[in-house]
Symmetry: C2
Subunit: 231 residues, 2 copies
């Protein structure tokens, strides 16, 4: 056959998915679980992580990849607690891409880790559309944001393997109806577990930590099948 | 000269800027001021607009263009107050593009309006990068989001012609330092006015309304030069 000279332009998302697949293989090899935390700016992602580090660091070896448009504020907050953390700066971009996450991950001592938590850029829209090779996306929604966010930003809540409802300590001061919020969430995702937490008071943290431990335990089972995202 | 057959691919942003320029000309012709409200999901953009409609509707003829990924919730909230409102659905996209805004604007009776307020998609990153032909971007930041957002999301705060710091009623319940937040903002933007408001209590609304009235008055001056964005 004659060799035809045809230029092929792959779409960017295709390239992203190839990097995500490489990350998935790398995590499987080292039996490391990776979570992708996604929420609005100021939803309390870093505060939840600080509290999680304090509860989990003695029994679970983990690292955090901090995604931000600018500054190293969040990485500094976690490093002060003795947490292994790398800062991923997008320099303006609105989400983390799989390639950047993969490079940061390769620099970690994966054979000495159980869990990697990625804190994505503060944004309810774009990060939900980019697979970074994680086992689970976790949606972080603060009660100060209003009840209807699951239906207004459905992509994330549809894909989320868990939802953390944060800043529960502020509930008495807000016109926020928990039942309404949960009903909206159930329209989008009928089964995802919801953790009602407060990083200020510690309320609800035990159930969240238990879920993380289960994720960890699963990664240690020799025959654990690496779960691929359901699309 | 021989006519050369060269295909030209313009970048998308170039197309966006042409639509923004058309919008700018349209607004100038009708002496209408257009604001572009940008903030995180749940920052209180719609609540601020509800309060603004109540204060301003008798003395200023205005309309709202509601940008959302999904649902008509926000447009319904404003329509219930008798406000002229159109819903702009992006169907997944993370920001409003100039073309969509232009088409919605053309359907409004611009000769009977003074002010058009666009509520952009809830997102601190992407909408800041897209000119929609507005006179001023207004950054909406709630005190529940933490002090450091201006330095973590600098593009918006650099461009903002005003900042509304919302949910001030919650301040007593938050570990939020106003001075620290304002210092961060001043690192990014030395001069932009800051309005500390609460849509719940009405606190600070008078200064915000006064600023809107001044914008309106400016549009009525026959020789008012149409301000172009400083880039």
């Amino acid at each position: 056959m004659t060799k035809l000279n045809i230029k092929i332009y792959r779409n960017l998302m295709g390239a992203n998915d190839r990097w995500a697949a490489r990350t998935r293989a790398l995590l499987k090899k080292h039996r490391v679980i990776m979570l992708n935390l996604i929420g609005s700016p100021g939803a309390g992602k870093t505060s939840l992580l600080e509290k999680t580090v304090r509860s989990l660091s003695k029994t679970c070896r983990f690292a955090v990849l901090e995604g931000d448009v600018e500054t190293t504020h969040d990485a500094e907050r976690l490093a002060r607690l003795g947490c292994r953390v790398s800062q991923l700066l997008t320099g303006g971009a609105c989400h983390l891409e799989a390639k950047l996450v993969h490079y940061a991950l390769r620099d970690l001592p994966l054979n000495k880790l159980d869990l990697v938590v990625v804190e994505n850029v503060g944004n309810l829209v774009c990060p939900a559309e980019f697979d970074i090779g994680e086992h689970a996306k976790v949606a972080i929604l603060s009660v100060t944001e209003g009840e209807d966010k699951p239906v207004k930003y459905p992509t994330l809540f549809r894909e989320a393997k868990a939802v953390a409802l944060t800043k529960m300590d502020l509930l008495p001061h807000l016109p926020f109806d928990l039942k309404v919020c949960r009903a909206y969430l159930r329209q989008i995702n009928a089964t995802t577990p919801v953790f009602q937490v407060s990083a200020q008071t510690g309320r609800g943290m035990a159930a969240w930590i238990k879920w993380l431990r289960e994720m960890h335990a699963e990664s240690q089972t020799p025959d654990a099948r690496h779960r691929t995202p359901e699309r």
